[in-house]
């Protein structure tokens, strides 16, 4: 019990950093949530953010802007700020309508429009919208005029067809939950590496270590106490993170998907515990530890798609990440995100991933034991 209490005392001194990791986790998740549009279970059109500078007073130009307003979010940004807004993707398209716009259409001339764009899919879509309106207007101008013209264009371009959303999953909330659980990789790894390696380096400080070895207390029991104390702290951390999960995502955590997230994180937290012990055994140099924590926690997070979704990453990086347990943790979270119903086929890849994480854990434990034995012989 003495050893157990000592370890807890050491960890108590480290709580500042643990609180910091937690604050970062919650802050980032809240920032994600902040952008959320709430629960969405009906189909919604994607509306690009655009800016329009109009110099044409004709009704045709006004109707054109009304049409764009239905399919995009038109923002008001002053001309000197427009380049920054484009660069930082606040908007994806700027359209300059000059005073000849309507007269060119009515005269059958080719319409010329200036624009600035980010050249992404939002801007391509905006161009399609513009092109459609101008085309319809150019055809109708031969058959209708004035109000009849704008009314007919409006009738035609507002013809809509039905879109059905074939899932009852709350896709948006699940995306935020997945991002939260993916980000847990950083918190778990940084937390466990920090706690365990700091504890081990205190316990293995030359004089303390010598005193421990010659004491009458069984060394194996000593090791068990250290392991137990560290594990309890990490599971405490796990429970806190799950509680935050509940606060952030509420009822979602009690659905099948939510429970699977909780189980997946549990399997993974055991793995991070074993990584913590492995690294704590390899080095006891306190000034090296902070470097290692950052490289391991940030490295796996970047490589395995915790910060940037895996679908946006180059294939070579994704393939490389398969040598790390984090990859399987993250890909399970991604699978859970789109899990509609639970049956053998849908759950099989999740089970496979979990088994791989468990194998990693066992390998890390064996490695730790081998290194420990070698180091003991030297001592």
């Amino acid at each position: 019990m003495i050893v157990f209490k000592t370890v807890l005392k050491v960890i108590n001194r480290l709580k500042g950093m643990l609180i910091l990791y937690t604050v970062i986790l919650v802050a980032i998740s809240l920032m994600n949530q902040f952008n959320s549009k709430g629960t969405v279970i009906t189909y919604q059109e994607t509306k690009p953010n655009i800016v329009i500078y109009n110099e044409d007073d004709n009704i045709l130009a006004k109707e054109f802007i009304n049409y764009l307003d239905k399919h995009t979010n038109i923002k008001k940004i002053s001309k000197d700020k427009i380049d920054d807004a484009l660069f930082y993707r606040d908007i994806s398209y700027v359209l300059y309508i000059d005073s000849n716009f309507s007269s060119d259409i009515l005269a059958g001339n080719k319409v010329k429009l200036d624009y600035k764009s980010t050249e992404d899919y939002n801007s391509s879509y905006t161009e399609m919208l513009i092109d459609k309106y101008v085309k319809v207007a150019s055809i109708y101008k031969d058959y209708y005029s004035d109000l009849e013209l704008t009314k007919n264009i409006e009738d035609t371009v507002s013809k809509e067809i039905k879109v059905n959303l074939s899932t009852k999953l709350d896709v948006d909330s699940l995306s935020y939950a997945t991002a939260y659980f993916n980000y847990l990789n950083y918190s778990f790894l940084a937390g466990s590496l920090y706690v365990i390696s700091m504890v081990l380096s205190s316990m293995k400080e030359k004089n303390v270590y010598k005193r421990t070895i010659i004491s009458s207390y069984d060394y194996k029991r000593h090791n068990k106490d250290v392991l137990l104390a560290n594990s309890i702290v990490l599971f405490g951390l796990y429970l806190i993170y799950m509680l935050f999960g509940y606060i952030l995502f509420k009822d979602l955590m009690f659905t099948n998907n939510g429970i699977l997230y909780i189980i997946n994180s549990f399997i993974y937290v055991i793995c991070t515990l074993s990584i913590g012990f492995l690294i704590g055994t390899i080095t006891q140099n306190k000034s090296a530890i902070s470097g290692i924590i950052n490289v391991v926690a940030l490295g796996t997070s970047f490589l395995c798609g915790c910060f940037v979704p895996i679908e946006y990453m180059p294939e070579s990086v994704v393939n490389l990440s398969k040598i790390l347990p984090t990859h399987y943790f993250v890909s399970t979270n991604e699978l859970i995100k789109s899990l509609d119903k639970i049956d053998f086929n849908s759950i099989l890849p999740i089970i496979t991933n979990s088994l791989i994480i468990i194998v990693f854990t066992i390998v890390f434990i064996i490695l730790t034991n081998i290194i420990n034995k070698k180091k003991q012989k030297i001592a």
Binding site: Y115, K116, Y125, D155, T156, K162, V163
Partner: protein, 377 residues
Amino acid sequence: MFHNFKYTLKTLFRTKALIFWTFAFPIILGLFFNMAFSNLENDEKIKVFDIAIVNNQAYEENIIYKNVLDELNDKVYTAKYVSKEEAETLLEDRQIYGYLYFDGDNPEIYVRKSGIYQTILKFIIEEVEQRKNVLNNIALKEGYNFSNVAEDIMTKLDSEVLTLNNKSNSNLSYTVIEFYTLIAMAAMYGGTIGLNAINSSLANMGEVGKRSSITPTKKSVLVISKAIASYIVALTGIAILMLFLYFVIHVDFGSNLLYVILLAFVGTLAGTSLGILVASAFKCSHDAKIGIIIAVTMFLSVLAGMMGITLKYVIDTNLPFVNMLNPCNMITDGFYALYYYNTLNRFWFDIVSLLLFTILCLIISSVLIRREKYDSI
């Protein structure tokens, strides 16, 4: 003075933890950024996307749709022609963005979530519907020969009636900002080098400090030679990082290479001065001072856009004075100005504010350090 300068250089280059955080860590982080972000912008360009079309009898009989959709296949999307059940399975397995199903004459789209490709699919199908509507409307008008009109309209629909003239700046890659913040962070981390050097000449910070305080050499000579040595070490770190970013990761710095170098010099100076300020202003342990620099740097880097460029933009537009006081942002913004803008006004503004920051730090430090005397310590 030279003696002191030389030994400060030697000591600094041999402090392993210092070299790791200021030299190696930014490079490692740069590698991570590159792995995660290298594909991000390509994925935002519009691509040919996968859909399915349910080829039931209603679809086969709908000649207009069949012709238009066949023509667009492999240009805008790649379509699989399947039964409704197969389409549903494909959608569930996320192999397609959506599928098209004809219920009699009415087309319907099925998707699993809202998104840009789903929106474009809807746009395309609506366009066919709207073309039909154009033809019907005009056919109803009296006095026109339908077959002539139809042909005329179809040619018009397929002809180019619009010229779009692109006025955007050519450099639009926003991921470069992440790498610029990395340089800014490394420059501020360089503060730990300045801090290390100054601490060693402070009597209350250790044995070396005590010994240097009782030497006949003037304090100003000691501090200045150490500051210059740490500036050179920090500059070496920044140079290695920038060469790495330029030659290995191929980060675009724009075309004004001389200005880029000037900014690196001034930015590093700001970082070193921050270190000198922290060393002289705070009366706490060496580790606590390092902690202060790292915490301040991380916070300022995040505000400058390290964890997502949106934050920089939001602060730039809503709280511009916050980022004008933030040296990390001034460095990032300077690189951004060189990369994105054709004019240099913004760049010079950043340089001047970095210089002001440096002068302010150095004045405060010199007021705090000078005439510091101990009867006993």
